[in-house]
Symmetry: C2
Subunit: 246 residues, 2 copies
């Protein structure tokens, strides 16, 4: 009698692999975080909205840095061009354009000073650690893991749409032009996540690599979750509390 | 009696600092390497020209990688845009464009197969080490040092002009279209070195930093010199010799 022994861990089928990646987003994405739920229900005070914008800006301004680190891991002009476009999306093709500039304008629409945002002085310790952790993950891990971590973009377009509605309804003190960042990210996020998912599917051929990709996406969800934890729990704690009373 | 004690090492004046940087290029740039002198005098065999093109391609294809690592060290959209343009110069804005493609066409004009060039299989050990050393320098050192290392571009435009003349005169078996890479680099090199020199002058305010910048440029000259050493001394040594007999 001959039996064919399957390897101990066979790769998941492409469909199952994708389903497992999507399940991470459904279970662990920061749309489920209390602070995000409160934001979208209109329950945040003006000080809380400003605190979130200020701290999330620290994340936003590091996106091109992590994307440059990913670019350096890619071994063909075609793949690097794909990632360069992401850097351009955030840095702009020229001064006054791009996602970082749009985020600064969101801050201004919410009554925050551009220079204070750029100074980074109001950024919370937990937010600094979360961003540092994400940048170093992209610096030190494999191209597969660094790209898989970007797959939170699979869930981002839905979040952006909900957020635009929530801000238009609940936070009318922020001028609608301030929401341009969220509007731009709906299409950019859809395109970026489609490209990244295709790369991750091509690159992760073994079960080990598939599991590494799932773990990378899970780590990235922790980064975003941890950022909101810090923003949520900052109330009345020293530095941040005193800034809010200004 | 009061005396004003100067710090042990005062910064060089901007003019002296620039002169010291230029002196490194004048003394240590690879235009003085025997292999380059022989190339420009028309003394290389066809096999030697091909060996140089093949091995230098390994350097060329890593330029966008080191530039992406430098981009990740820059903290403003303005500076990153400056460096992104360098990556685009080599990778192209779309397929079939850019410096890497132009180098592949130089190889084809010299009778080399594009697939062999892309495979990297004929790259000499010393060339691999030189390129790895340069990429890691840009990965691990300060932005000042990584940018200062790029200042070999100060000497590159002159070298490119001499090279175009030398190839047109001595290596007529290479079709003139093959020299497009060298032609493009005259202007790109002038612009790149001007920008980089300005950054290095702004950033290196202490004597210690000025000396680090000079040392970085000196290291980069060693990289280029070492690459030519490997190409020069490969004659008849095992792998490479056997490939040349093909």
């Amino acid at each position: 009698m001959t039996t064919t022994l399957a390897p101990l861990t066979e790769p998941w089928s492409p469909a199952e692999f994708e389903a497992r990646l999507r399940a991470v987003g459904e279970g662990r994405y920061h749309d489920r975080h209390t602070f995000n739920i409160r934001m979208h229900q209109g329950d945040l005070t003006q000080a809380e909205v400003r605190r979130w914008i200020t701290n999330r800006f620290h994340y936003q301004r590091h996106i091109p840095v992590k994307d440059a680190l990913i670019t350096a891991k890619l071994d063909s002009p075609r793949l690097r061009r794909m990632w360069l476009r992401r850097i351009e999306d955030h840095d702009g093709r020229s001064e006054g354009e791009g996602g970082i500039e749009r985020w600064l304008r969101l801050g201004e629409a919410a009554g925050l000073d551009r220079r204070t945002l750029l100074s980074g002085e109001a950024v919370l310790p937990g937010v600094r650690l979360a961003v540092e952790g994400y940048v170093n993950f992209c610096r030190l891990r494999s191209p597969l893991e660094a790209v898989a971590a970007s797959l939170t973009e699979l869930s981002a377009p839905d979040l952006m749409r909900t957020r635009i509605e929530a801000f238009e309804r609940h936070y009318r003190w922020i001028a609608p032009e301030g929401l341009a960042y969220f509007r731009t990210r709906v299409d950019q996020g859809r395109r970026d996540s489609g490209e990244a998912l295709e790369l991750v599917r091509q690159w992760a051929r073994t079960r080990t690599d598939q599991e590494k990709a799932v773990a990378a996406l899970s780590f990235k969800c922790d980064v975003l979750w941890s950022l909101l934890d810090a923003v949520q729990h900052a109330d009345g704690q020293g530095q941040d509390g005193s800034r809010e009373s200004m």
